[in-house]
């Protein structure tokens, strides 16, 4: 059966679609051919798959072939069954007939003959050639067709259909198609069954010696191929899979490895998909094997192709020692390339669902990568190793891939000395490109072990080598181990130049080969192995090699990108970039490197980033992309410190600094968040009062390896409570040198609004370059959106308190001070948790007040409770101006500077002041109610105070303090008695108005005209009274006896003294802490203390004449004895009696209307009735009348009763009884029991 193999191949190429046989009985085919073939390929076909399930197949290609065609004739029966898939799937019998007899006699027997073969699926197409207008012919054709149907169609199955050539019926084609499909389906089912049966039989014999894989293979593959023809790809692949599995099992069976083949020229080319090439069949000489034809399906084929390559590659490894040098690598390369070519050309964009497409590209990428790896390996073997970037990906791919293991390493051809020389030269010329920034890394290995050693060892294994002399001679026991065995763990030392130095072993065949010789030998060997011209070309020179390498890398990268395997793709982008970089195509290189770096940086794989970033930086530098270069340098600096040496990091920094100080064309702000981080200091936050400037201390961490000078620095503060306002920047203008590590800097802080603040962004300048950093100290991932999001610490660094009073100024005393005397006015300066250091007090005395500038001011500590301690009667001894704790101050320009020792304590500032009042105090008649307010207002003076304080005198506190001044006494007078001799006893009542004891040493009265002193006449009362001491707020009385003197002549009116004046000489002893006190001592006046001690108080008194000349007497009638009660009406009665007859008025009825008015305190009384009215009173002496008013007491206690006044009558003419104010007792209201609950 194996002999059919070559035939099999050609059959498969010829019949790759469904064949439909056309039995042209009546020579109709040329006529209908066009119409038939227009139906191809079939748009929709329902076929049964292997498991008898209907599958919809779109676009089923097919071909109509006449049975007379050579292709369908003359086949051997055995051949037929074996390649049954190529046999027609349906037979269409084309007939026509216009005569019933003819049909009966000729056509019918012939048809019977044709259709008797039950194996075939057939149906008849009756073609009617009758023209449409010829009814006769049409009728006849119908008759014949009816007859035909009767004869050939059965109830089970319609086997006839009719085509009117002249009037084609649209239904016909559908009918035809249905019939064809039915046939194909049936045929297919039957053939599947057949093949399955055959395969099952063969499988049963599988382990018998006679079993031949080839037969099995042909059957299995035929079945698979048939599925493929029918577009049942799933089934086809399943068959191929099983076949592959079976194949691999067979290949790996011991005893089957007799010959592997593959030694012929051209075997290296994997002919996976190219039928024209020499099939692998002959590689597997005995166990013949055929490659799959994958052409028509793209993705699954690709996956399987890939895995086939891998597994076959392993198979090749097993036989590597028998195969030509690097057979395996070359085969993989060609296989991959073939697979890529084949699938790529079949695949069109958008053909498949996205996930299928993705998968397709992924596999494509994998194949490219595999191919690329093998290609690099070949390149390395022939000496292009120096052109392969020693990147992690290349190193990972190659250093773990074992060297090829030929039985004997190829040896140097005899005539290759010139080539060796060329290679030597190439090796010598090759010097590793120095890395930018002077980074020195041990290059990553591209070889699993040193090639020199490996090659020589493999040679030496045959020839009696002296390798052990050359190298450490470690025996490697892994020679014969399979590909899955662990790697030979030879420490891969990177290539050392000494091994390749021009040899000392010239001429000897047994001497170890030098590296150049190995290269040349490999090249020659490969030339023998590689039959593919293109592949050889791409290995023939470095340029070609690089081109191919680039193509493969690009292919892999693109496909990975399309499959969303971005990491794979980007890594390969890096490889492409490396090639561009080498060829000084920096633009492309930089772009690609950027992609790589972005990926690694984005995912935080710093080790990998550290490999690529210097390259990117170099490209950017050469391109003069300053911004990019700068940011690359910064990124390099911010990578983990362990990844670079200090020296390298310093190089990065010096680049940054150099650029920063150069004139950049387009300066860009530099983000140094990773390099300079900042945070507030440990410990409590800075608390400031509103409006205060301060100094903010911030910790900066510098990740720079060296000191770095920041030309300027500013930090923004963001208010936590108020996000509307933009952040405020605080600046340090002077240059700051940051040492590596922790730095503490202080920044002046202007006054801020109240609130708490966190640090925002750090900005500044390095040279000309602005930079910014917005990261706090390290610890968390930058801007991670992890489920527990990493929040920036919101620990406030600064708190500015809400405006509050920081200081309080108050008057030290509340009681009145002496008017017209210099008095100490105390101002209590109380700092409220705020230092008053350097505070300045502006003092502006208001009108009527004068600062005694001759005196020093005094300041002392304020002690709570001094007021209590001070005994009023015994003034404290330490009242002297300078006592302990009292300091003197001087006023300058209305300002006074508070001493520092008072900055944190409450202190009292004593200001010497004098309230000036022009008028004399006025005495009042006793009993009259003097409005107290008036005197208070008169004595009120204000001091405007303004305190400037704060750290930079930024705070101001203003307050106006009211100080009350008063005369020492309030004077009231009354005539106590009028003696018979006309002497009047004038009682002067002195009421002390100050909180100090007053000692009156002398008092005299300067009487006004019309009065004269009785007695001695000096106007003094008995001197033995003095000194009279008046306690605070108490009263004292002095009696003066006077008499009425003759009124002076009118012409002396000039000297008339209209008022009497009471002069009092007194001393005062009080504490300034309480109120009035001894006036400020006038030190300048000299030692005459006595003089200074006595103060003089003068008060005006008005005495009036005539006195006591009553015309009317008003008597308050006694109240009911039951007493007054709140809420009980009471009748108040007054009796008015005329004491003297009223002469001047002459009235007819002798009556005079007297106006009366009741004055009450409305708080105490309510009047029911007229308050004011007229009463008639006879003008005769002695006439009397009673006025009664109903009143209601409102308040219990001793209250002044309502008073009856007679407004029209002069006060002097009224005699009252009782004469002065008096009180009545009002009882509380009776208890009300109405709400009491009886027990």
């Amino acid at each position: 059966m194996a002999s059919f193999l070559p035939q099999f191949q050609s059959i498969k190429t010829t019949f790759d679609h469904v064949v439909l046989a056309v039995e042209d009985v009546s020579d109709l085919w040329p006529m209908v051919k066009k119409g038939f073939e227009e139906r191809l390929p079939f748009k929709r076909a329902f076929l049964n798959n292997k498991t008898r399930n209907p599958v919809l197949v779109d676009e089923l290609p097919a071909e109509f072939i006449l049975t007379t065609d050579a292709r369908l004739r003359s086949r051997f029966p055995q051949e037929q069954s074996l390649f049954w898939f190529r046999e027609p799937y349906a037979t269409i019998v084309l007939v026509t007939c216009e005569d019933l007899d003819e049909f009966k006699n000729i056509l019918k027997p012939r048809l019977k003959l044709i259709v008797q073969n039950d194996e075939r699926e057939w149906f008849i197409v009756f073609v009617s050639k009758a023209p449409a207008h010829n009814d006769q012919a049409t009728k006849m054709a119908k008759k014949v067709y009816a007859k035909l149907e009767v004869d050939f169609s059965s109830k089970k199955r319609e086997r006839c259909c009719k085509l009117d050539i002249n009037a084609p019926d649209a239904n016909f084609w559908d009918d035809l198609e249905t019939k064809i499909m039915e046939c194909i389906r049936n045929t297919l089912d039957r053939r599947i069954q057949f093949y399955e049966e055959e395969i099952r039989k063969l499988s049963e014999q599988r382990f018998m010696p006679v079993w031949n894989f080839c037969n099995f293979f042909i059957l299995k593959e035929s079945l698979a191929f048939m599925f493929e023809i029918a577009h049942l790809h799933e089934d086809a692949l399943r068959e191929y899979d099983e076949l592959e599995l079976c194949y691999l099992e067979t290949v790996n069976m011991v005893g089957k490895q007799r010959e592997f083949g593959g030694v012929e020229q051209g075997d290296d080319q994997a002919t996976l998909l190219g039928p024209a090439r020499k099939p692998l069949t002959q590689i597997v000489h005995d166990d013949s094997f055929r490659e799959f034809e994958f052409g028509s399906i793209y993705l699954p084929v690709k996956q399987r192709g890939y895995s086939f390559i891998i597994s076959f590659s392993k198979a090749l490894t097993l036989h590597e020692s028998m195969l030509p040098f690097c057979m395996r690598e070359v085969w993989v390369i060609t296989a991959c390339l073939a697979l890529i070519d084949a699938t790529a050309s079949h695949y069109k964009d958008g053909l498949a669902a996205p996930d299928v497409e993705k998968e397709f590209y992924r596999v494509q990428g994998e194949i490219y990568t595999l191919c690329r790896t093998k290609f690099m390996r070949l390149g390395y073997l022939i000496g292009y190793g120096s052109d392969i970037e020693r990147s992690p990906v290349n190193s990972a791919s190659l250093s773990m891939l074992p060297w090829p293991k030929p039985a004997v390493w190829p040896s140097l051809p005899s005539n290759a000395s010139s080539e060796v020389l060329a290679k030597e030269k190439m090796i010598l010329q090759d010097s590793p490109r120095p890395k930018h920034f002077g980074i020195q890394r041990k290059p990553l290995p591209l070889e699993p072990s040193v090639l020199l050693r490996e090659a020589n060892r493999r040679r030496a294994s045959l020839s009696a080598g002296n390798m052990s002399e050359l190298f450490d001679g470690r025996p490697n026991a892994n020679d014969s181990s399979g590909p899955l065995s662990p790697l030979p763990k030879v420490n891969s030392v990177s290539m050392s130049r000494t091994f390749s130095s021009p040899g000392n072993f010239e001429g000897s065949i047994d001497r170890p080969m030098r590296l150049a010789e190995i290269y040349v030998a490999a090249e020659h060997a490969l030339r023998n192995t590689i039959s593919d011209v293109k592949l050889w070309e791409s290995l023939s020179s470095i340029e070609e090699f690089e081109q191919k390498y680039l193509d493969l890398s690009k292919g892999a990268a693109n496909n990975y990108h399309r499959s969303w395997w971005k990491r794979h793709g980007v890594v390969l982008d890096g490889e492409i970039a490396a090639v561009y970089h080498k060829h000084e195509n920096y633009d492309f290189a930089a772009n690609l490197y950027e992609k790589v770096c972005a990926l690694y940086a984005g995912e935080g794989w710093e080790n990998l980033l550290a490999e690529v970033l210097p390259n990117l930086a170099e490209c950017q530098k050469i391109q003069n992309d300053q911004a990019g270069y700068l940011s690359s340098c910064v990124r390099l600096l911010s990578l983990d410190k362990g990844l670079f040496l200090t020296k390298e990091r310093q190089a990065f920094q010096s680049e940054v600094v150099r650029l920063a100080h150069s004139e950049m064309e387009h300066p860009v702000p530099l983000d140094v968040s990773s390099l300079i981080t900042f945070s507030g200091n440990q410990g409590p936050l800075l608390e400031l009062c509103d409006g205060d400037p301060g100094t903010l201390s911030v910790t900066l961490w510098s990740e720079f390896p060296d000191d770095i000078t920041l030309e300027s620095l500013s930090l923004t503060l963001t208010a936590t409570n108020n996000t509307d306002e933009g952040a405020k920047a605080i600046k340090s203008t002077e240059a700051i040198v940051l040492r590596p590590g922790r730095n503490i800097i202080t920044l002046p802080l202007p006054p801020q609004k109240p609130g708490s603040y966190v640090l925002g962004v750090l900005t500044g300048q390095i040279g000309q370059l602005r930079f910014r950093s917005h990261s706090f100290s390290k610890g968390g991932p930058a801007d991670s959106d992890d489920f527990l999001s990493y929040e920036k610490p919101t620990r406030p660094i600064l708190k500015v308190a809400n405006p509050r009073s920081l200081v309080d100024l108050a008057a030290a005393v509340s009681s009145a001070l002496l008017m017209n005397e210099s008095q100490w006015v105390g101002i209590i300066v109380r700092p409220l948790n705020y230092s008053l250091k350097g505070a300045v007090l502006h003092i502006d005395a208001g009108p009527g007040l004068r600062i005694e500038e001759r005196h020093h001011f005094e300041i002392e500590k304020h002690e709570v409770g001094t007021q209590n301690m001070t005994n009023l009667d015994n003034p404290p001894e330490n009242l002297s101006p300078v006592s302990t704790g009292v300091k003197q101050l001087t006023l300058e320009d209305g300002k006074i500077k508070l001493p520092d020792w008072t900055s944190n304590i409450t202190s009292v500032l004593w200001i010497p002041l004098r309230a000036v009042s022009d008028g004399l105090a006025k005495g009042t008649p006793a009993g009259t109610v003097v409005p107290q307010r008036q005197s208070v207002v008169d004595g009120l003076r204000t001091i405007a105070l303004k305190l400037d304080f704060g750290v930079s005198h930024n705070q101001t506190f203003e307050k106006t303090i009211a100080v009350h001044f008063t005369d020492p006494f309030h004077v009231s007078i009354r005539v106590a008695d009028k003696c018979n001799d006309g002497t009047l006893l004038l009682q002067v009542i002195l009421q002390s108005q100050v909180k100090a004891s007053l000692a009156i040493s002398d008092a005299w009265l300067d009487l006004q005209d019309g009065f004269a002193h009785a007695g001695k006449g000096d106007g003094r009362p008995a001197s033995s009274f003095f000194p009279l001491i008046v306690s605070p707020k108490s009263k004292a009385g002095i009696l003066f006896s006077i008499y009425l003197a003759e009124a002076p002549a009118k012409d002396e009116a000039k000297e008339l003294q209209p008022v009497s004046i009471l002069n009092i000489k007194y001393t005062i002893s009080g504490s300034r802490n309480l109120g009035a006190h001894t006036p400020v001592a006038e030190e300048l006046t000299g030692p005459d203390n006595d003089k200074a001690e006595y103060l003089t108080f003068r008060s005006e008194l008005v005495l009036q004449r005539p006195v006591l000349d009553p015309c009317l007497a008003v008597g308050f009638l006694s109240l009911p004895s039951s007493g007054l009660r709140v809420g009980q009406l009471v009748t108040m009665k007054w009796r008015v009696e005329r004491l003297k007859a009223l002469e001047e008025k002459v009235a007819s009825d002798n009556l005079d209307e007297v106006l009366y008015e009741v004055n009450i305190n409305p708080e105490n009384w309510m009047i029911a009735g007229r308050k004011r009215g007229y009463v008639s009173l006879s003008t005769k002496q002695g006439s009397r009348i009673e006025i009664s008013i109903l009143c209601l007491p409102l308040v219990a206690g001793y209250v002044r009763p309502p008073q009856l006044g007679l407004p029209n009558v002069d006060e002097a003419n009224i005699s009252c009884n009782p004469p002065g104010p008096h009180l009545v007792c009002v009882l509380p209201p009776p208890l009300s029991s109405s709400y009491c609950v009886p027990a």
């Binding site: 662990p486 995912e603 794989w605 990998l608 991932p781």
Partner: protein, 135 residues
């Protein structure tokens, strides 16, 4: 014990948060980033696989010559990745499970910020001990 084994924990954002060479063979200096590279590239595959299976332990999802990548995907999409050359699947699975537990304990530490690097030396010691035990 595996000859080569590189263990890594990769956070949800693909950031490596823990890395340890747990093989017996000392890490070669010149192959410094190879393991990282392989594991990083394997993330591509993990990303595809993660959503197609409900299994946490994905054994040998990627193969790099004779090194194999096995991955243990956690619910919060943190991935424990191991690059190894040993074939002891059960051991590796147990290793993953134990490390998983260890990692959860780390997560419970209030001072550990999820997604940040694991710097705990205790964790490191434990992981290495587990590696010795299971591989």
């Amino acid at each position: 014990m595996a000859n080569t084994a590189c263990f890594m924990i990769v956070s949800k954002n693909d950031i490596p948060i823990y890395e340890a060479e747990v093989g017996t063979v000392p890490k070669k200096e010149d192959a410094a980033h190879q393991h990282q590279f392989i594991l990083h590239a394997a993330l591509d595959i993990v990303q595809d696989m993660a959503w197609t299976t409900s299994a946490m332990f994905l054994k040998a999802i990627d193969r790099f010559n004779d090194l194999v990548v096995s991955v243990y995907i956690k619910v919060i999409h943190t991935r424990l990745m191991l690059l190894h050359d040993s074939r002891n699947d059960d051991g590796i699975k147990s290793f993953f499970q134990e490390v998983h537990e260890l990692y959860i304990k780390t997560l419970l530490n209030p001072l550990y910020l999820p997604g940040s690097r694991i710097t705990s030396s205790h964790f490191d010691t434990k992981v290495r001990a587990l590696a010795r035990k299971y591989m």
